[in-house]
Structure formats: structure tokens, C-alpha cells
Amino acid sequence: MPKRTIIPFGPQHPVLPEPIHLDIAIRDEKVVEAIPSLGFIHRGLELLVDKKDFNDMCFVAERICGICSFIHGQGYCQGIEEIMNVQVPDRAKYLRTIWAELSRIHSHILWLGLAADAAGFESLFMHSWRVREKVLDIFEETTGGRVIFGVNKVGGVKRDIENDVLKRIVGTLKDMEAEFKPLANVFIDDYSIKHRFSNVGMLSKEDAYKLGAVGPVLRGSGVSIDARKLGYAAYKELNFEPIVENSCDCYARTIVRVREVYQSVDLIKQAVDKIPDGPIDQKVTGSPNGEFFSRLEQPRGEVVYYMRGNGTKNLDRYRVRTPTFSNIAPLVKMLEGCELADVPVIILTIDPCISCTER
């Protein structure tokens, strides 16, 4: 039997935007075991509940991640609103849905660019990020920020978007969709992309479910679970079905993200058509007393926030379980038996966000 060798992978690696370390045990070129470890950027953000009051914690929540910052804020606010039984105005729910779907589009296109880069397809990477700029411009116009938006608040949102601006955004997204389509076709049909991603990083439907995979990793293995179906924000009034692919490999996870970009554009169109007029926030008095597990669908998958209030301004606990954390166990499974050269691509297809994971 060939000798077992341990290859350290990360925390710094060209394919990793953020630091995670894996000890990759190989025999010849085959991976026999992968052991991940975290903690290089652990910030202890959850502990800030002792110092920040429950309104200010929304800003901390948004700073967990620079890609899905909006949804972190939204999840936090929704949890507090559930504990305090706050009725959020419908317009605020629709605005949250629109910003959340814009976040999904920009996250997925960012990831597709990174995937192209990992496959050595530099022009595809650059074009992907060029298209993504349009979404960032919409964020800048509607919130004032391109990374951290600060528009969520307990009880609603801080900024409205005028109806004519919303219609213009739909027009911009149509243009973006037209620009994205040729790129999407490359991800779907190009020989080199298919060759690099197909039959790599296999995760069966049963393993994906049992190991707690979430998001495109789960849906790329043929499991139709999407936390948006819980019906939070305006999702219960929108028509959509989870995007599912059945080939269980890196290619399936890529295609799920490509198709979800189109789905998000459609959801935004539906939301703009249905958004009611009215107030955008509800005055909140008192302090949260109770607990709630708030679940949402981030671009990377289901995120869970546990919040426990004690009737004072400071929460007892704010705990975040991010999608990447949940996808670590499935990642370990995917890496077993793969070629060493496929490890970077496989890690990339869970769309790892380590800042989120470590909080």
C-alpha cells in the first residue's frame, strides 16, 4: 500500500479568499481523509451582545460577512421582531426581499467568477465580476453602501425605494440578465468548465441530507430544500420552487447557482409588481424577552440565528449558525477519495465564507 502523507492545505491558498486549514491525508494522489480546522479570523462577534443593545446588534450582525451582510441583518431583525411580536409593514417585507435577492445575485455571480478563476478561465472571471458591478451600483443607489448597507432595523427598514426607481431597477436587471446569459451559457456548455467540474466532488443525495448540507450544495445533490419556502418576508406571496440539480457534483452546484441568478431576477420582478404602498417601519418599544430560532436562506444556504432576550436592552445570547459551517461535514465527505488536484475546486464549490463561519 502506498505511504500515507499529510499535505497541509491553507490557511493561505490561491483558491481561498479567506483562511481555512485542512490536513489532507493522501496515498499516491488520492485523498483518504481531510481534517479541517478554523479559528484564524475568529472575532467573537456573538459576545458583543453584552456590550451592544439589541438595536445596535443589527449593525454587528451585518458585519459578520461582506457578501451576505444584508441577510445577516435581516435574520437578526426578524428574530427580534418575532420575540417582541412586532408586525412589520408589508412594504418593508417586500423591500427586504428585494435587497435579499439582489444580495443573492451578487453573491452567486461573485462565486461564479471565483469558480472561473479556479478553473483557469480568467476572462470569464473578469466578465462575471463586470456584470456583478451593476448589482453593486443598485445597492449604492438604494442604500448608500456597496458592501454594508445598514438599512435593516428592528421593526422594518430605514430607507424606502421609490416605485419608479424600483421599475428602473427591474430594467437594469433585464440588461444585466442579457449580459449574464452568454456567461451563463459558458458555465453550462463550455467543454473546459464541464470537464473540470463534472464527476468531481461527488456528494450523494442521502449523504447531503444526513450530513446537514445546505444551499446549492444540498440542492446540487437533488434535495429540494430552500428556507425561503418557510415564507418569511414576502416569499410566501411570491411564486417559486427551489432550484434542484441531480448530478451531485461540482458542476451541479455551479448550475444551481447559475439558475438561481435567473430565479432571483424573477423574484425581484414579482416583488416589484406586488409591493404595496405604505409605511416602511413600525415603532418598537420595550426590550425583547423570549427566544426564537430565526431561519433564512442566504446565497450559501440556510442560516440560523438563535436569540434569547431577558427583558433588558442586552440579549442573553445571539448565536449564528452559518451555511458554510453546516457544509464543513459534507465537504469532508466530498474530499474523501478525490484527486489531490481536485481539492481546491471542491472546496470552492461549497462557496466557503470563513468570516461568516467563525463570526
Partner: protein, 129 residues
């Protein structure tokens, strides 16, 4: 209300393991294990099936912070349980993958188990070194 959430408090570890096995055989997936420091450690085991959320709660005494792993039933529990060990200092017995305190490579031992002031002092001392 976005969704109905049921929390059941479990008195003993053995009963908890039985519940966890029931969840597994009924086709539930493990959504998260969460720990909260109160007068005791409150450990929550949350499951989901067809968007139905169920939560089981178990209390670990501060004086003897120990609990049994459920990783023999739910393999992915190892990430949550190693995290609880590293951040809260609870000893977890029977882990399928035990990092021995190295899952999170952080300088402060069990930062979530102590009061904020103590953590700040420890961080300052670490900085001085």
C-alpha cells in the same frame, strides 16, 4: 409568526440520546447544536424535516461541564460539539472526530464560558506577551 417552534426540555443524557436516535430514524436532519451560558450551560439540539422545526434542550451544570456526543447518530455533530468544547469548555465524550481543543485555533481558552470582563483581561494579557 414565521414558523411554529417546539422546544422540549430533556432531563437526562440517555433520554436525549434516545430522542436524537428517534429524530434520525424519523428522517429529521440536524440543523444546529447551540450552547448558551446562563446559570448553567443550555445546550439546544435543533432538527428539521419538511420545514418542521423541533428543538430539544439539555442543561449541563457549570460545576461539571460534560456531555455525551451525538456524533455516532448524526456524523455532522462533530463540528458543533468541537465548537462547544473550544468556546464553552464543555467536555464532550464519544466524539467521532475529536480535535482536542484545536478546532478553533484561538488564544483564549473557552472564551464563551467566562464573563466578558475576564475575557478582556485575558486578551490584554495575551497582547502584553
Amino acid at each position: 409568526m414565521i414558523e411554529k417552534q417546539e422546544t422540549v426540555t430533556i432531563a437526562s443524557q440517555d433520554e436525549l440520546l434516545k430522542k436524537v436516535a428517534e429524530m434520525s430514524s424519523s428522517g429529521y436532519r440536524l440543523v444546529l447544536i447551540s450552547c448558551t451560558k446562563l446559570n448553567h450551560f443550555q445546550v439546544d439540539y435543533s432538527f428539521d424535516k419538511n420545514y418542521e422545526f423541533r428543538n430539544f434542550r439539555f442543561c449541563v451544570p457549570v460545576e461539571k461541564p460534560e456531555m455525551k456526543s451525538i456524533s455516532s447518530v448524526f456524523t455532522n455533530a462533530f463540528t458543533y460539539e468541537n465548537e462547544i468544547h473550544d468556546l464553552f469548555g464543555i467536555e464532550v465524550h464519544g466524539l467521532n472526530i475529536n480535535y482536542g481543543g484545536k478546532f478553533y485555533r484561538i488564544n483564549i481558552k473557552a472564551p464563551f464560558s467566562t464573563l466578558k470582563k475576564a475575557v478582556a483581561v485575558a486578551a490584554t494579557e495575551e497582547g502584553k506577551k
